[in-house]
């Protein structure tokens, strides 16, 4: 019985560990690309500037469309009302 539990625990642990590994790879890549993109298009900015622009999803006729570049922007912006993120 304990052998079976140990086997299941090892298997679940292995899957969780692999999942964590891929989440870390994804997060690292997303942060790196966001940093490069922000530097290229806007230069160094402040946290305030980033937060205040997260809602800016328009691609036409605007300024500082950080939303798409921000790490979580692609997830949160389309459902955010203006100024949800001050």
């Amino acid at each position: 019985m304990s052998g079976r539990i140990l086997h299941v625990t090892r298997r679940v642990g292995g899957i969780m560990g692999r999942l964590l590994l891929y989440v870390l790879i994804w997060a690292g890549l997303a942060l790196l690309i966001a940093a490069v993109g922000i530097r290229f298009y806007w230069g160094e900015i402040s946290v305030n500037q980033m937060l205040l622009n997260l809602v800016s999803v328009e691609t036409d006729g605007g300024e500082d469309p950080l939303c798409g570049w921000a790490f979580w922007g692609s997830v949160s912006c389309p459902w955010s009302s203006p100024l949800r993120w001050p």
Partner: protein, 446 residues
Amino acid sequence: MGILGIGVVPLVITVALAIGHYFLRRRRSSGGSRPRRSPWIMRTVSTLLVGALVIGGTTAFATTVGVGDYIKAANSPYNIGEYHVEPAVTGDGEKRNLVLIYLESGEETLANDELFEKDAFLPLKEATPAAEGWQSVQDFQQYDGGGWTMAGFVSTQCGVPLKGVGSSSSSNSRELDDDGETYLGGTTCLGDVLEEHGYQNVFLGGANSSFAAKDTFLRTHGYTEQMGLSDWRAAGEPESGFRSDWGLSDERLMANARDKIDELHAEAEQTGQPFNLSLLTLDTHEPVHVYDYCDVDTENNVTSVFSCSMTEVAGFVEYMKERGYLEDTAVVIMGDHLKHMSAGDAFHEQLDHHGNRTIFNRIWIPGQGPDTTLRHGMDQLSMYPTILEAAGFTLENSEAGLGVSAFASEVPGDSAQALEPEAYNELLGSLSPRFYGEAWIGSRGE
């Protein structure tokens, strides 16, 4: 592109790695091939690579958005609320019409023809000569953090640095102004003061009004009419007058501004109620777009585009002069911020190590001669009381927000402007959660 870059590309790479790894494991487990190296070496190398990616990505992002400064600001002992002054108008007997022109990225440094191929501001300088009474604040500074349009608007019209309540330590910060109907509604800004004194506030800009919630800011602060990209399209502006990524050209904006000032001035003469016409240019936002009315005569077309934009604004100033509007209308022209310096932008060689980058500005007050001296070296926050005094108001101690009017010969001792530079910068950087919490709540006087 952004969503593709951040949302999709990392996901695709990660999934590709996972699939590749899965098939490699299957091949090995089915005995198809034997690992040439010890699995422990492979695991160690993989762990180090993933660790480097996570640490590198986090560090790059943190330095790009200044997380360190943000943490320092969160622990600052300063509070903007302790220095903020509600503007107290002590007289409006000489109130007059106001034209406020924001020049996109209007940095005075670009007027240096020793650094650049030509003085890009020459057309505007020639239209606003000191000999005729045009004044300017020498060494007009951008406050630390004021390098984008909305920060320029808020600092010069409300006298405070632009910050959100996302920084607030208040547990219910997300409840504040969650509906997005107001923008710093708890703060008294230029449009509010003017509206209270009977002004009609109108804004014309070439770009999308709703971008960065500019329309919400203007609507919250007394602007009853605003025109932006969608309005120009609806009005049937020719397609050649638009740039696809931004909006209406400065040439067409100024043409519309001429019509609007004719209308507003005629109304003001009839009703006796003054107006505030605010404009924001866009040609000079990088990457620049060369419209057909702009002859590029410099190696770097950014210099020519700046010059062409200034020519358009100068044309509008000349128009006001010809029509006699300058006899009863104050004019304030200023850059909304310094020129952006992202990796893809021009003039890194000239500007990256420049010791004193300043914002272009000109002020016209009817009847005022060339002998007036404005306070040197002030920043955007002091432009708020300066504009009010240019419009003919007198203010208690010449103060509004954190600023002191450029017309004041002395700065009050308890003003933020009297702080030492280091303390002042720390004050502007402080998150001041209570102040901004109240400022974002929604309506003044609550």
